[in-house]
């Protein structure tokens, strides 16, 4: 059983729809680049951050957590049966972070200065954003290096240059790269997990710099811990969610037995997170805010429900064994994390001197949707052309 490129056509009717949405997103992206943030977004001096930060960046990073959580499981704790999910999870993480950066560039006023945090004279160790930025950048490099062996694997021994000299040289290089990456792979894997733990939690520290602006339901000193726990909690549900989506779209049999046993872990990770949230609200005596009847309180209840339901569902053996049960419960956890990030970065944010509210513009929505669609397309393209997916029954 070995991962290999999928033999399916790239375009199907569904793919055409995704493709059109990606094109619309690309046009909105260009619109922002040519006409500026004022034209393309509804951002103001009171609401400097919108959905590009809350969804494209914050949720994007969280949903890419499948990469480090499955690497920890299969490679560090050596649960060998989960090896089949490694490559798809790695690909999602790599593309996820790539698109996080693309989304971020649209949001930055001076995107061409994005490299500044790497210059030692501009290092700012007090800034949470600085740490997030450097970790994300380092992790992106780790992900690309972890992915490189897959590309090498695809072409090694199959180089078909006419020129024999060129062919030999290329093969030589590939063999060298293969050896090199194999040798450093373990460092990359551990570094990836450490970097992920760091920036996943630090994303939760970001909004703590605005104590007077963040609603008390989400303003807690353990916010970084909650962000880390929720990233760990969403890792496996995200792997299951995308694996089921992909197998449906690719017309292959889902790896139900692997996914079901992966799902056994979820009640623990989601349970831990849920318990931490409840304990946090209790210790801070914030329960009255849950019942205050504001938008914030309803969004909090909604967010918590999105974790509570799959938590109960996935304790049932029957639901873990059914494709539908797996899909619904993992989709709920995924939405729970997205809603949590939207809550922390947008719903909880209340600037002192304003009556207006922020709602995303049509361009902001188009870019966000477009980026997700573009990610799906690249994912499909790479699974067709590289050995990512493992199919059970031989040819």
């Amino acid at each position: 059983m070995k991962a290999r490129p999928l033999n399916i056509p790239f375009f199907t009717p569904g793919v055409w729809i995704v493709f059109s949405l990606a094109l619309i997103g690309a046009s909105a992206y260009l619109y922002r680049m040519f006409f500026g943030l004022a034209e393309a977004t509804n951002l103001t001096n009171s609401y400097p951050w919108g959905i590009w930060i809350a969804i494209d960046v914050a949720s994007g990073v969280a949903l890419a957590a499948g990469g480090f959580t499955s690497a920890a499981l299969a490679e560090i704790f050596h649960r060998e049966k989960y090896h089949v999910i490694l490559r798809p999870a790695l690909l999602t993480a790599m593309l996820g972070y790539t698109f996080v950066v693309i989304g971020l560039l649209a949001d930055l006023g001076r995107y061409y200065n994005v490299w500044h945090p790497m210059i030692p004279t501009m290092w700012q160790g007090n800034s949470v954003l600085f740490e997030v930025g450097l970790c994300v950048m380092a992790y992106l490099n780790v992900l690309y290096s972890e992915f490189a062996p897959i590309v090498v694997d695809r072409f090694k021994g199959k180089v078909t240059f006419k020129n024999e000299y060129l062919r030999q040289k290329t093969e030589g290089l590939l063999t060298f790269l293969d050896k090199f990456f194999r040798k450093i792979l373990w460092v990359l894997i551990i570094a990836g997990v450490v970097l992920s733990c760091l920036h996943q939690s630090s994303l939760g520290t970001l909004m703590l710099i605005a104590p007077t602006k963040i609603h008390p339901l989400w303003y807690t000193p353990i916010s970084p811990l909650l962000f880390w726990l929720s990233a760990v909690a969403v890792g496996y549900p995200m792997v299951i969610f995308e694996s089921l989506l992909a197998s449906k779209s690719f017309g292959i049999k889902p790896e139900t037995h692997v996914l079901s046993s992966l799902a056994k872990i979820i009640p623990f990770t989601v349970g831990f997170y849920f318990a931490a949230k409840v304990i946090d609200i209790t210790i801070r005596e914030a329960w009255p805010f849950v019942g205050e009847g504001s938008l914030q309180s309803y969004m909090f209840i909604f967010e918590m429900a999105l974790f509570a339901i799959p938590l109960i569902l996935l304790t049932q053996e029957k639901i873990r064994q059914s494709v539908r049960g797996l899909f619904i419960s993992s989709a709920l956890v995924v939405s729970g994390v997205v809603i949590n990030r939207i809550n922390v970065f947008l719903i909880a944010y209340h600037p002192p001197y304003t009556e207006e509210i922020y709602l995303p513009s049509i361009y902001e929505i188009a870019v966000t949707v477009g980026l997700i669609c573009a990610l799906v397309l690249v994912y499909r393209f790479l699974t067709i052309n590289l050995p990512i997916v493992t199919i059970e029954d031989g040819e």
């Binding site: 006409f35 500026g36 943030l37 004022a38 977004t41 951002l43 103001t44 001096n45 400097p48 951050w49 490679e75 560090i76 704790f77 050596h78 949001d107 930055l108 006023g109 001076r110 995107y111 200065n113 994005v114 500044h116 945090p117 030692p120 501009m122 290092w123 700012q124 160790g125 007090n126 800034s127 949470v128 954003l129 600085f130 740490e131 930025g133 194999r182 040798k183 373990w186 460092v187 551990i190 570094a191 997990v193 450490v194 733990c197 760091l198 939690s201 630090s202 520290t205 970001l206 703590l208 710099i209 605005a210 104590p211 007077t212 602006k213 970084p224 944010y349 002192p352 001197y353 304003t354």
Partner: protein, 293 residues
Amino acid sequence: MSTSRRDFIKILATLPLASSSFASDGHSEKNGDLASNGTSYSVLMDSTLCVGCRKCEWACNDKNHLPNKDISTFEDTSVFAFRRRPEVDKFTVVNKIQSLKEQQTIKIQCMHCLHPACASACIVGALKKQECGAVTYDADKCIGCRYCMVACPFQIPAYEYKNVLTPKVQKCSFCVDKLEKGEKPACVEMCPNEAMTFGTRAELIEVANSRMHQHPEKYFHHIYGEYEAGGTSWLYLSQIDLRGSEFPQLSSDPIPKLTETIQHGIFKNFVPPLALFTLLGVAMHSLKDKDRD
């Protein structure tokens, strides 16, 4: 995957060296400590003396080359119907105090915090508390992430969203060029009624205390900015309690205290991340050996 234990240890051994030098570089900036050393400048704004002439707005526009109009147009008091906010082309605004019936006005601009949240937030150190007291902005470093705007408790920094290629964060600079020469900021200089007093922070706190002492009937007994957010370089006296009315209610903790504590806790000489790395490395290798045995 075959890796020897020696590789593992060799790589671990090199990491702390590289990273501890990184840590000391990254953390050498201590925003805020500079300002408390007594030589930094402050302004005391006494809103009971403000006559609402808005000449300071004109002077600020003039000094900072912002779009400006003839000085006589600033006598227009219709602007007092709303509570205005500083903007990309207005670093300071004079507002009517909303909770008072009579026309009593107050000038607002960047507070030049002693522990500025904006500077602590800034990813590249484009915002900095200078020794003279000003919190300054360097557009050439800025990446335009607007985290400073999220951080500022006074909702001061404004962003040039309309500028397509080179948008800037805009806010009062405390006229830093004049300040460095020991001169008064343009707005303070302009004020016909001396509603603003310029001096060192310690001096001005004394001035404020003696005014409140001499005319207890005129003032609400509180210097806004003495302790708020860990202290600000601009200080306010008023006939009303400014906390929760014209200004936010803030504790005496510096705004970035929690984030900086967490941040430096996680990165204490890089020990926690390296410990995690080691732990995972040991787990990875020992669990693997068990598999083989």
